[in-house]
C-alpha cells in the first residue's frame, strides 16, 4: 500500500524541479536581452549611468517610435530580410548537395575536394577581405544585392554540419533503394531531403543569422543607400565620441523581432525522430 502513495509526490517533485530549472536557465540566458530591450526605453545618457539600474527613471517610447517610423530603418529591415531569405535558400541548396555527395558518394578526387571545401572555415577574414573585394569589384558586382548574397552562399561550416548529419543516416535504406534501381539524385531528393527538416532548420537559422548580422562586408561593397543593411544602419548609432545607447538598444531590439518570429515558427522541426525507423 505504501508503494502506491509515493509515486504521486515524486512526480510532482520531479515536475517542479524541472520547472524551477527551466525558469532559472531561461532567466540567466534572457537577462542580457531583457536588459537590452528595456534599455531601449532609456534616455541617451541614462543607459550608461552608474550605479547600474535595470529599469529607466521614466519609460520613454521615443526611441522605439522614432526608429519604427524611420523609413530608412524599415527599408534596411526589408532589404536585409529579403536578402537573408534568398541567401538561406541558396545556401541550403548548395551546401546540402555537396554534403550529400561527401557523405554518401564515392568519386575520384573525393579527398582532395573535401579538403578544398572544408578549408575556407579556417581562413581568417582579413586574409581574403581585400582580395575578394578586388574580385567582386572587377566582376562589377559592387552596389548590388548579389554581392551581399553570392560570395557567402557556399559555406564550409554549414556543409560540414550537413555532411556529419548525413553520415548518421542508415545505409540500409539507401541500399534498398539502390537495389530498386533509384538514382543517387532520387535518393537524395526522396530519402535525405525529407528527413532533413531538423538540420535544415539549424543550418537555415545559421545562414540567416550570418547574413543578418554581417557588418564589415556590406560596408565595403555597398554604398547605395537603398541597399543599406540593418547592421550598417544600427552602426550609425555608435561612435568613438559617444554612442546613442538608447537608440542603439531600441534599434537592436526591433531588429531582432523578425528573427525571433522565424525562430518561433521553425523550432518545431527540431523534434523527435521522424526519421529512420519511421520510413515508409
Amino acid at each position: 500500500m505504501t508503494r502506491k502513495a509515493n509515486p504521486v509526490p515524486t512526480r510532482i517533485l520531479r515536475k517542479s524541479a524541472s520547472g524551477i530549472l527551466v525558469v532559472l536557465i531561461s532567466l540567466s540566458i534572457l537577462f542580457p536581452l531583457a536588459w537590452m530591450a528595456i534599455a531601449g526605453f532609456k534616455g541617451r545618457t541614462e543607459v550608461l549611468r552608474s550605479p547600474f539600474q535595470f529599469f529607466p527613471d521614466m519609460w520613454r517610447w521615443s526611441n522605439y517610435t522614432s526608429i519604427a517610423k524611420d523609413h530608412e530603418f524599415l527599408r534596411a529591415m526589408i532589404v536585409t530580410f529579403v536578402g537573408a531569405l534568398i541567401f538561406t535558400a541558396l545556401s541550403l541548396a548548395v551546401n546540402s548537395m555537396a554534403a550529400y555527395a561527401f557523405a554518401r558518394l564515392e568519386f575520384r578526387g573525393k579527398r582532395f575536394w573535401w579538403v578544398y571545401c572544408i578549408l575556407p572555415m579556417f581562413i581568417p577574414m582579413m586574409a581574403i577581405l581585400i582580395t575578394s573585394f578586388v574580385v567582386v569589384s572587377k566582376l562589377g558586382m559592387l552596389n548590388t544585392l548579389a554581392v551581399l548574397i553570392i560570395p557567402g552562399v557556399a559555406s564550409a561550416i554549414q556543409m560540414f554540419f550537413l555532411r556529419q548529419y548525413y553520415l548518421n543516416f542508415p545505409v540500409a535504406v539507401e541500399e534498398a533503394a539502390l537495389i530498386d534501381g533509384a538514382s543517387r539524385w532520387q535518393i537524395f531528393a526522396r530519402v535525405f531531403l525529407p528527413q532533413s527538416a531538423a538540420p535544415f532548420v539549424v543550418v537555415g537559422l545559421g545562414s540567416y543569422l550570418a547574413y543578418w548580422n554581417a557588418y564589415v562586408w556590406p560596408i565595403l561593397v555597398v554604398t547605395d543607400p537603398k541597399l543599406t543593411q540593418i547592421m550598417q544602419f544600427l552602426g550609425n548609432f555608435r561612435s568613438d565620441r559617444g554612442n546613442d545607447w538608447g537608440m542603439l538598444m531600441a534599434g537592436s531590439t526591433l531588429a531582432a523581432i523578425p528573427t525571433i518570429i522565424l525562430l518561433l515558427i521553425f523550432q518545431r522541426f527540431i523534434v523527435n525522430g521522424v526519421r529512420i525507423s519511421g520510413m515508409k
Binding site: 564515392e106 582579413m126 557567402g152 543569422l209
Partner: protein
C-alpha cells in the same frame, strides 16, 4: 521493410557497422555504376566548388602571392620574398596572440559543448510546449549580433554592474573584470559561450532525438545507469556531430575579434589580444609595411588553424558512416 526494422533495433550501437558493409553492397553494382557516381558527385559539388573558387580560393591564392611583396598600390609593390614571414614568425606579439586565441578556445569550446549536452538532455525530458519554449530561449542570444552582445556584457562587468552586484550579495569584493589581466579573458569567454551555446544545444538536441529510445530502453533493461548510458550510447552515437562541434567551435573561437575589440581593446596589457585582433590592429595602420605584415600574419594564422584542425580530425576520426 523488415530489412529496416532489424537493422535499426538489433544492431549494437557504437561498434557500428563500418563502411565496409556498404561497399560490399555496391560490389553488386558494376564499374559503370561507380563511374556514374563520379558524374553525379561532381554535379552535386559543382556549385560549391565554383563559388568557393571564385570568392575564396582565388582571393586566397592572390593574397598568398601578395604576401611576398611590400604592397603599395601607388608606387608599385616591391618583391621582398619571405621577409614578412620572417618578421611575423619572429614577433613575440604574434605568438602571444596565438596563445591567447587558443586559451580562449579552450575556455569556450569544452564548456559550451558540455553545457549543450546537459541542456539538450534536459530539454529532451520536457513536455512539447515547454521544450518549444526552451528551444527558442536557448537560441535567442545568437539573434543579437556579437557587437551588441559585447556592449551588453561590458555594462554587466562594470565596477558597479550586475556581476559585481551579485558578488556583493554573497559578500565578495568587486572585481575589475575587464581591467584585470587575470580575469579579462575568462570574462570575455562568458559572452562567447553565451552567444554560441544556443546553436550547439539545438544541434546536439537534433542529433540526440535521432537516437532511438529503444537503445536506451534495452540498455536500462540490462541495468545501465545514466553515466553508462551517456558514455556508451549517447556520446559514441553523437560522435559525428561532436567532431563537427569541436572542430568548428575551435576554428571560430580562435578567430574571435568582436568581443576583445569592443570590450577590452585587446587589453589589459594584451591579455585579450586574439590573433584576429592583433592582425586587425596592424591592418589599421596606414603604412605599407603594416598592411603586408597583417596579410602575412593572417595567412600564417590560416596555416596554424589548418594544421591544428587536421590533428583534430585525425584524433576524432569519424568520417565513416554509422548505421543507426
Amino acid at each position: 521493410m523488415a530489412l529496416l526494422e532489424s537493422s535499426a533495433i538489433d544492431a549494437p550501437p557504437a561498434a557500428g557497422r563500418q563502411r565496409g558493409s556498404g561497399k560490399g553492397g555496391t560490389g553488386r553494382r558494376a564499374v559503370g555504376a561507380r563511374r556514374q557516381d563520379n558524374i553525379t558527385a561532381y554535379l552535386m559539388i559543382a556549385p560549391m566548388v565554383i563559388l568557393l573558387g571564385i570568392f575564396v580560393m582565388w582571393p586566397l591564392a592572390y593574397s598568398g602571392y601578395l604576401s611576398f611583396f611590400k604592397i603599395n598600390y601607388y608606387t608599385g609593390s616591391k618583391f621582398v620574398g619571405l621577409q614578412f614571414y620572417h618578421d611575423v614568425l619572429t614577433s613575440d606579439e604574434f605568438w602571444h596572440s596565438l596563445w591567447i586565441g587558443f586559451y580562449y578556445a579552450l575556455l569556450v569550446v569544452p564548456i559550451g559543448i558540455i553545457l549543450a549536452l546537459l541542456l539538450a538532455s534536459f530539454i529532451k525530458t520536457l513536455s512539447k510546449r515547454v521544450a518549444a519554449f526552451m528551444k527558442v530561449t536557448v537560441y535567442l542570444p545568437a539573434v543579437v549580433s556579437t557587437v551588441i552582445a559585447s556592449v551588453l556584457f561590458t555594462f554587466m562587468y562594470q565596477d558597479d554592474g550586475v556581476v559585481n552586484w551579485f558578488l556583493s550579495l554573497i559578500n565578495l569584493a568587486p572585481v575589475a573584470w575587464l581591467n584585470d589581466p587575470q580575469w579579462a579573458l575568462p570574462a570575455i569567454a562568458v559572452p562567447g559561450i553565451w552567444l554560441g551555446f544556443g546553436i550547439t544545444t539545438l544541434i546536439v538536441l537534433a542529433a540526440m532525438l535521432d537516437i532511438p529510445d529503444s537503445y536506451y530502453e534495452s540498455a536500462m533493461l540490462d541495468g545501465a545507469n545514466f553515466r553508462q548510458r551517456l558514455f556508451r550510447i549517447t556520446i559514441p552515437l553523437l560522435r559525428n556531430v561532436l567532431l563537427y562541434l569541436i572542430v568548428t567551435g575551435f576554428a571560430l573561437a580562435v578567430q574571435m575579434i568582436d568581443l576583445p575589440l569592443i570590450m577590452t581593446g585587446g587589453g589589459p596589457v594584451d591579455a585579450t589580444t586574439t590573433p584576429n585582433y592583433y592582425i586587425f590592429s596592424q591592418f589599421r595602420s596606414p603604412d605599407p609595411y603594416s598592411r603586408s605584415y597583417a596579410l602575412t600574419a593572417s595567412l600564417l594564422l590560416f596555416v596554424v588553424l589548418g594544421l591544428v584542425s587536421i590533428a583534430m580530425f585525425r584524433l576524432i576520426r569519424s568520417d565513416k558512416a554509422v548505421d543507426g
